[in-house]
Every structure is written in C-alpha cells, then in structure tokens.
C-alpha cells in the first residue's frame, strides 16, 4: 500500500523540484522538509494508525469475528507466495481483462474513428448508442452463460463489450477535437487521407485514447472479477466465493487486497506509459497556453 503511495507522490514531485531551484538554499531546505512531512509522514502515519486501529478493534472484539485482523490477513498472504493456486487465479483474471481489453479497444477505436469522421453515420447511430451505452454488460451475462457456459470466453466477451464504450466515445471526442484549420491546411498541402490520419488525427486523439484506456483498464478488471464471481469462471472472483463458502475469512480479505493492489499497479503502469509516450503533447500545450 505504501509503496504505491510513494510511487504516486514520486511522480508528482518532479515539477515542484524544478520550480524550487529559484529559491535560495536555506528556505528550500525548510520547504523540502515541510513538503516531505506532508507528502510522506502524514499519509504513512495515518495509514499505519488506521491499520493498528483495525487490529485493536478486531482483537478486542468490538468488530465482529467475521472481520479478520490485518496481521492475520498479511500472514495468510505471505503464506500464499509459494502456492501456485492464487497465482493461477490472478493469471486467469489478468488474461480475461487483457484479452478483452485488446479486442474491445480495437473495436471501440475503429467505431470511434468512423463515427467521428463520418457525419451521416453519427447522426444515424447516435440515438441508438446513447440508448445502449448506459446498459451495463452484466445485463448480457445470463445470455452468454447460456450460449458459452462458465468459461473464459464469456468473461472475455463481456470485458470486450464493456471496454468498447469508453474507447469509442474517447476516440469520437478526440476526432472532433481536431483543429479544423489543421485539416484545411493539410488539404492545401495535398496530404492524402492516410497521411492526414497519421500526422494530424492520431496525434490529436492520442491523449483522449490514453484517458479512455485508463478508464477501460479498471473497467476490464471489475468486469472480469464480477463475471468470475457470478458465473463461476476460474479467476480471482471465483476464488473469492470458494474461500467465502469455506469460511476462510482471512483469505477472503487477502484476495480483496490482491484485487485492489492489482488495479493500483496496472493504473500506475498506464499512467507512467502515458507520461512517457505523450510527454511531447504536454510540453506542446505548455508552450501555447
């Protein structure tokens, strides 16, 4: 928990540091000390206090016995490091999320490009899309269990369907955010449609896609865990219900912690990748604004 928190803060301190160079030495040191108190000590201290409070409340019996102590949960997690079963569950869930994410993103981006570029298509389909968008994929689950059964295909299909929406809309917003003057200029220079796509549309929609991808990733994880949980498809969700029916409470909390950590780590990876790939974009905006 704390490592991801510091990683998050670590990213943030970068621009602050460069600004600090303007300050003379002594006040900078004082500034830095205050900043490190706020950035490291207060969050870590509070988190530890909360954990201790949780431990004390469960040990003293204020919280019901179904709530496990943090130490028991961490001990259980530690004991699972060498066991293949939990790793396999994580692998299944990641596989459902990743494959669904790739398929759904591809479909979403293609549809988004088409709808963004072609007005008549947008007018024709917008109403239908607006109707279908708020329908959660869980609604389609009974049909898919019926057709495919409780297998990976069911989870992957539903993840893909869920992911199409944010990618489609982000792509469409991105395409419509392309500066029309740039399009005019590209026409004047005689760029082909393909060149225009590569050097104008794609760079403009890239940040929109990055945002869409981040939304889609957490969605993919939630949907795969949900499908595993309801339908009994192998993965973290199913493992969770097994531990629950076996009455293994520390394991239930342990799996939940893993799911949370997984989501944090994946999000962090995407944020880093986004920053690395789109640094030119941010700097570009920094100059013009």
């Amino acid at each position: 928990m704390t490592t991801t928190a510091t990683a998050r803060e670590g990213g943030r301190t970068q621009p602050v540091k460069s600004k600090n160079k303007e300050h003379p030495g002594s006040s900078r040191r004082a500034d830095n000390r205050q900043r490190s108190i706020r950035r490291v000590l207060i969050p870590t201290g509070t988190t530890l206090t909360l954990l201790v409070l949780w431990e004390v409340l469960t040990r003293s019996g204020v919280l019901p016995a179904e709530v496990s102590q943090p130490t028991t949960i961490f001990a259980w997690l530690w004991g699972q490091v060498g066991e293949p079963f939990l790793w396999q569950s994580i692998g299944h869930t990641l596989q459902h999320a990743a494959v669904g994410l790739v398929i759904g993103s591809a479909i979403g981006i293609v549809l988004g490009l088409a709808l963004g570029e072609i007005l008549i298509l947008r007018r024709l389909l917008q109403g239908t899309l607006e109707f279908l968008r708020p329908v959660p994929v869980i609604v389609y689950l009974p049909l898919l269990i019926l057709l495919f059964g409780a297998v990976a295909k069911t989870a992957i299909t539903l993840v893909a369907v869920a992911v199409v929406w944010p990618m489609l809309y982000q792509t469409m917003y991105g395409v419509r955010a392309v500066d029309p003057q740039l399009i005019d200029a590209s026409r004047m220079f005689g760029l082909t449609a393909r060149q225009r796509m590569k050097s104008i549309t794609l760079p403009t929609i890239a940040p929109f896609l990055a945002t869409g991808l981040r939304i889609a990733m957490s969605l993919a994880l939630v949907v795969s865990v949900a499908i595993e949980l309801i339908a009994g498809v192998p993965g973290l969700g199913w493992t969770l219900t097994q531990y629950q029916t076996a009455g293994n409470y520390p394991a239930v909390y342990g799996v939940i912690m893993i799911a949370g950590a997984l989501s944090l780590i994946l999000n962090q990876l995407l944020v880093r990748g986004e920053r690395r790939m789109l640094h030119w974009h941010v700097s570009y905006r920094g100059i013009t604004k």
């Binding site: 869980i138 009974p142 049909l143 309801i230 531990y243 799911a259 999000n267």
Partner: protein, 255 residues
C-alpha cells in the same frame, strides 16, 4: 443532403430498423436460446406488468436509490472537507486510493458475511462504490474554484462555512454532477450484481434464475427491462443535471 442530415427522424431510423429486423427474423423462431420477440414481449408483460412489480422491481429500485443518495451526500460532505483541508487530504490519500482501487464486486462476499443477504448489505455496497467518484470529483471541484471568486468571497469577509456552502460547492457543482453520473452507472451495476449473487428478490435475481431454470423468455424479458431501466435512469439524471446546472450552461453559452 443537409436537410436530410438535420432531420430529427434520422436517429430514429436505426432503432426502428433493429426492432423490425428482430421482430421479423425471430418470428416463429424455434431456437431455444433465441425466442421470438413476440414471445419475449408476452413474457415481459406476464412477468413485470405487474406480477413482479411490487415484489422485485420496487425493491431493486429502492435499494439502488437509497445507496446512491447516501453515497452522494457522504461523498460531497467528505469531499468538501478533504478538498479544503490539505493535511487531512494528505493523511487519507493512501487509504482512499486503495479503497477506490478495489473492484467493488469483490466486496460482495464480505458484505454478505457482515450484513447477510438482506437489503442492508446491498445498500452498503452500492453506497460504498458510488462514494468514490463523487468524493474525488468534489475534492477536485472545490479545490479549483476560480481565484477571482475566492478573492471576492474573502474580501466580503464570508466565514469559512459560508464560503464553502455558497461559493465553493456551487462552483464545483458541474464537476460533482459528472462524478454523480459515473456513480449512477456503478449503482446500477452493483444493484444487479448483488441481486445475482445472493438475494431473495430483485430484477437481477429473477433474470438469472430464469436463465438457470431455462425459462428463456423470462430471461430475455429481464434483460430487456434492465436495459430500458438503465437508459431511463441515465436519461432522468441528464434531465435533472441540465435543470440544476442551467446557470452553468447559460454562462458558458454567453461567453
């Protein structure tokens, strides 16, 4: 060409075509999995109007709205606090980030353990997962109040409380509404999932049970109802948002 494009009937074309195709292609269907639309509509009328209306539709909607309202109120209140008191925000940042990252559906077993399979567990879960989008958007919104507005409210010597309620909250409202819309989607999903995993009633319960007992017409009618309900809720939300934020949209249009 342009008049065709602007015609208000154009967006209706595709849905009508889809429904018509569905109706005629499925007419007289003998497939077990894909009954005819006519059969689905008959099942819809028999199941939901109004045999299961009070016993299942109403509990589903009530739980959803109860959890949602709790989450919105708590999210705005806590968000205001964390947004304006920086050290508090720093203190709870790791816990909030972690709690938010947990896929809410993974908490269903714990909620059942602690609160049973009754209404309480479902409302708590819905409230928990709807809390975070509202919270984060409120924090962001009250923090990024236009500096001119802040200065004016200070020079008028408004108290902290007055500034919070009559300056910061209203100016954060567009963003808070965005969070509330995300939350509404979450509430709907969680509502259905909790009914599918441990429940005695609700639309999700009836629909999944219909699948398991191979009453496929009823399953389709349940899916249809959930789809319509999801879209209706979203439309209702957009309507309320537009009414409450009219001042915001007007000022944006004026610029």
């Amino acid at each position: 060409m342009n008049t065709v494009l602007r015609s208000p009937f154009l967006p209706l074309l595709v849905p009508i075509a889809i429904i018509a195709t569905w109706w005629f292609a499925s007419a007289g269907s003998t497939s077990v999995f894909f009954p005819s639309l006519q059969d689905i509509l008959i099942a819809f009328q028999e199941t939901w109007l109004f045999a299961h209306f009070w016993s299942d539709i109403v509990p589903s909607v009530v739980r959803l709205i109860a959890g949602y309202i709790i989450a919105c109120l708590a999210g705005i209140a806590v968000g205001l606090l964390l947004g304006r008191v920086r050290s508090l925000d720093a203190a709870f940042q790791p816990s909030v980030q972690f709690a938010r990252a947990i896929p809410a559906v993974a908490l269903i077993p714990v909620a059942i353990l602690l609160f049973g399979i009754g209404d309480v567990a479902k409302i708590v879960l819905i409230a928990f997962c709807c809390f975070f989008p509202v919270l984060l958007n409120t924090i962001d919104g009250v923090r990024n109040v236009e500096s001119g507005l802040e200065d004016v409210s200070r020079s008028f010597r408004l108290t902290r409380w007055q500034r919070a309620v009559s300056v910061q909250l209203p100016s954060a409202m567009p963003q808070i509404f965005a969070g509330m819309q995300t939350s509404l989607g979450f509430a709907f999903i969680l509502g259905i999932v909790t009914e599918m995993t441990g429940s005695a009633n609700g639309i999700g319960f009836i629909t999944l049970e219909a699948q398991q007992s191979f009453t496929i017409d009823t399953m389709w009618s349940g899916m249809l109802l959930l789809g319509i309900l999801g879209s209706l809720l979203n439309a209702l939300f957009v309507l309320i948002e537009h009414r409450s934020l009219r001042w915001h949209y007007q000022s944006k249009a004026g610029h």
